[in-house]
């Protein structure tokens, strides 16, 4: 009998019976129905499956339910509050920091973790922190600008 794992997901308690070894990515996309978290490579090399665990960015394809037992998991669906976009989401939309949008949830959550750890990163620090996130459409320059606009002390666009 597979163990039940409990954790908090986007502010609500959840309990899953798939066992501690089950992949967080496929639990999110499957039994939890949260498909904003994307599969891209399965080896932690693209960042499309990034979620927050305890506020830090992790690759959900390499994370098991056991890894998140008792912890707080936030996916892209948990960022907007009451229909109001999170400032990072708003900045990505305003800066046109996306094209196909497939890498976007992971990008936004990666940026979220960066700003939580480093509220005012330099442009170089943003690029460095986002280095393991892949975007094939080439929205990189706008992604950096979007993150920078949220990170800047005034919150204004550069």
């Amino acid at each position: 009998m597979a163990a039940t794992v409990e954790f908090r997901l986007n502010g609500r308690p959840v309990s899953l019976g798939g066992g501690r070894d089950r992949s967080l990515l496929w639990s999110l996309r499957g039994e939890l129905g949260l498909t904003g978290t994307k599969y891209g490579c399965g080896i932690g090399a693209c960042g499309a499956c990034t979620v927050l665990v305890g506020g830090r960015a992790v690759r959900s394809c390499l994370t098991t339910l056991g890894d998140v037992a008792g912890r707080e998991v936030v996916t892209i669906e948990g960022l907007a509050q009451g229909g109001k976009l999170h400032p990072l989401q708003q900045a990505f939309a305003d800066h046109g920091a996306l094209q196909c949008g497939y890498c976007t949830p992971g990008m936004i959550l990666g940026a979220h973790a960066l700003l939580a750890a480093t509220p005012h990163p330099s442009r170089e620090a943003i690029a460095s922190a986002m280095e393991q996130h892949l975007c094939r459409c080439g929205a990189h320059q706008r992604i950096v600008a979007a993150i920078e606009s949220v990170a800047s002390p005034s919150g204004a666009s550069p």
């Binding site: 904003g36 080896i43 892209i76 990189h140």
Partner: protein, 712 residues
């Protein structure tokens, strides 16, 4: 007045509800006849519906893969119709609801579908104004339209909205000729930057891609794949897979798959299959030896351009330059792998697929399943990137076949290894150029031969009197080119197919001659250009970059290149920094100027320039498929290197105004110059000419060593 796509008028209004519908036929549209691509069919290209709620729905067989046409098409409709952008809803890529379309590729949506949509919207405005004239009791020429409200020009309080006019009607209008379109000077919506209509759903995670869709009772399929291309299945032991609870193993002809309600379990079942494969006897060429096969003496050549007397001009030339250029195979590598969800029941199929070609995919599925095309509906959700790679439909056919075989909805979502294995790669290619200058330093002849890339981008606009362009291996992904003889696996269209290779060769060769003449590369180009649009983009890029004339190599690391593609003209200047001990090339800055006629969405056009420049860094510097015959060695992003944040330069997009020309292609042109502009900048920095893409550190170091040896 016929209804679209074989649907009766009654059925059509049942489908869409009431309102006013305007359809446009393609026969009389300007520009289509010049297309070398198959024409749209004669029935209907576009239609839009004005509903009783005043909302406007545009139905188009085009798809949104990030290139932004959901927004730019809506802008065109809003502009001609006289409504706000927010009043438009887009229904894209649904074969059950949209007019037939051959597919979304070739930067053709704006320049070829756009005129049809604008005509439909302009005609709808005429119809609505006529209805308003009758309702208000004034002649139509005294009416004006703003934000979906028709009012009397000198008495604005007398007005009626589109919603009121459409309510209770089932009116269908068809236009066969291009309507009178608004002039650029009158634009309210077109030509102004618009936030993407898909931005909100993409930042919240609500946007659905094919792998995100679910149907009750569905199962996930994992398909057995050969270890290498052209391997044959000799035997299969599925007993261990079948022993897994809930697993179904399906085998029909060449298709072997395991099905399970949980994708992880399906993956475990796939791993439990014991298959024996017959491998090809000869492994075949690898990523280095392939070039001899592509450009071998046995490849027949066809001549596409020949003017003047190349042989005589060659004899008379003061200096002759002969170069051979090479480029490896490049993957599309969209971050979304191919996926499809299929449901087959009651003799009908519905398939949601990540595809750039919903209608051809529908026909392929119908043929494979033994159904009529009308019995198959392909619905295209958002695509997580395409770049030409989703013009194939293998995953959609697999899902449909499996759904038919097992009687349940089936999801096929490739993993990254399958995505690489079945990528129809941008072909490796070779270009040979012999060119020469006369005593007055004018280019006197040009003898150009391309192998395996095709002719797109091979015909440049330089004023050269004696010129020949030949091509071997054709557009090597076309059926007629017998790709098996050239390539160890399938190849296919990749963003501006062939042009990346051809422009790399052309623009490198121009730089070689400019350097040999001791002349500034920009000045040398301009001296051979009478084409005003090409001169315009070159001068715009140079001005924004701050180009200072100097012969290369100047040591500054700056380069320039230009091309024309999809009706647009582009030029770029780049600055690079070369680490001469490591051989790494860092692109510091790129300025790209583009003349694409009327700009529908300036923000969208800039995104396409930035995207093309960024994606182009890959084939220029780091992307090259490693393989041994049919064995694809790169199967994930750990060994296949896409451009990353640290490799992206400062990119400045310059839109060269040209409102006299209808909108041209925007998705592909900018990427075509990236190989050349970086190679030219590397030469300017180091004096070493790179003739093979990508310019990896090893090749740059080898080039530096050779240049040093040559110079000493």
């Amino acid at each position: 007045m016929s209804a679209p796509a074989g649907v009766s008028r009654r059925e059509f209004f049942q489908m869409v509800g009431g309102g006013i519908v305007v359809c446009v036929g393609g026969a009389a549209l300007p520009g289509f006849g010049q297309s070398r691509w198959p024409r749209y069919p004669d029935d209907v290209d576009a239609y839009l519906l004005i509903g009783a709620d005043g909302r406007v729905t545009v139905f188009s067989g085009k798809i949104e893969m990030g290139q932004g046409v959901m927004t730019s098409l809506a802008q065109m409709a809003a502009e001609e119709l006289g409504v706000e952008l927010e009043a438009i809803d887009m229904v894209l890529g649904d074969t059950g609801r949209c007019p037939w379309d051959m597919g979304t590729f070739g930067s053709m949506t704006t320049r070829m579908f756009g005129p049809a949509l604008r005509a439909a919207a302009a005609e709808a405005r005429v119809v609505l104004t006529g209805l308003a004239a009758a309702r208000l009791g004034v002649p139509a020429d005294r009416l004006t339209v703003r934000n979906g409200v028709v009012s009397v020009r000198d008495t604005p309080s007398r007005q009626v909205s589109y919603a009121e006019l459409a309510a209770g009607r089932q009116l269908m209008r068809r236009v066969d000729a291009a309507a009178v379109l608004k002039a650029a000077a009158d634009f309210q919506v077109m030509g102004r930057p618009a936030t993407r209509l898909d931005a909100r759903v993409k930042v919240t995670g609500e946007a659905k891609y094919a792998a995100d869709l679910r149907l009750p009772g569905q199962v996930y399929a994992r398909v057995l794949r050969p270890p290498v291309h052209r391997a044959q299945l000799r035997s299969l032991d599925a007993s261990a897979a079948e022993a897994i609870d809930g697993v179904t193993v399906v085998r029909r002809d060449d298709l072997v798959a395991v099905l399970h309600a949980d994708p992880v379990r399906a993956g475990e079942a796939l791993a439990a299959l014991r298959a024996q494969w017959q491998l090809p006897r000869e492994p075949g060429p690898d990523h280095d030896s392939i070039f001899g096969q592509l450009a071998g003496s046995g490849v027949p050549l066809t001549e596409s351009t020949h003017r003047g007397d190349v042989t005589a001009a060659r004899k008379a030339a003061a200096s002759i330059f002969e170069s051979t250029y090479r480029k490896g195979y490049v993957a599309h590598a969209p971050i979304e792998p191919h996926a499809a969800l299929a449901e087959v029941s009651g003799g009908k199929a519905r398939v949601w697929a990540s595809t750039q070609t919903p209608f051809p995919t529908r026909d392929h599925i119908a043929h494979t399943l033994g159904l009529a095309p009308e019995a198959v509906r392909v619905i295209t959700p958002f695509l997580g990137g395409g770049f030409g790679g989703k013009s194939a439909d293998r995953q959609a056919v697999e899902a449909a076949r499996l759904a038919q075989l097992c009687g349940r909805p089936v999801q096929v979502a490739w993993d990254r290894s399958e995505e690489f294995f079945y990528d129809r790669f941008d072909p490796a290619a070779v270009v040979e150029i012999a060119s020469g200058v006369d005593a007055a330093r004018r280019v006197a002849f040009w003898d150009f031969t391309v192998y395996a890339a095709g002719e797109r981008g091979a015909a440049h606009v330089y004023d050269i009197p004696d010129l020949r362009v030949r091509s071997g291996g054709g557009m090597s992904y076309e059926q007629s080119a017998s790709p098996e003889q050239l390539h160890p696996f399938e190849v296919g269209p990749w963003r501006a197919p062939g042009a990346n290779m051809n422009v790399f060769a052309i623009e490198s060769q121009m730089d070689i001659m400019a350097a040999a003449c001791g002349e500034d590369p920009l000045g040398f180009r301009l001296r051979h250009l009478s084409d005003a649009r090409m001169r315009g983009v070159l001068q715009a890029a140079a001005a924004a970059f701050g180009w200072k004339a100097a012969a290369a190599p100047s040591g500054r690391g700056v380069g320039i290149a230009c091309s024309t593609d999809a009706g647009s003209y582009v030029a770029a200047c780049a600055e690079v920094a070369v680490d001469e001990t490591k051989g790494t090339v860092r692109v510091v800055r790129v300025v790209c100027a583009e003349d694409l006629g009327i700009v529908v969405n300036p923000e969208g056009a800039r995104m396409q320039i930035e995207g093309g420049v960024t994606m182009g860094l890959g084939y220029a510097l780091s992307e090259e498929l490693q393989f041994r015959g049919g064995d694809i060695l790169d199967r994930n992003f750990d060994t296949y290197h896409l451009p990353r944040f640290s490799s992206v330069p400062r990119i400045e997009a310059v839109l060269v105004r040209n409102d006299a020309l209808t909108p041209q292609g925007g998705g592909e042109p900018p990427i075509t110059i990236m190989g050349a502009v970086i190679a030219n900048a590397v030469f300017d920095a180091t004096g070493s000419r790179q003739l093979r893409l990508p310019m990896t550190p090893e090749r740059v170091l080898a080039g530096l060593a050779a240049a040093k040896h040559h110079g000493s």
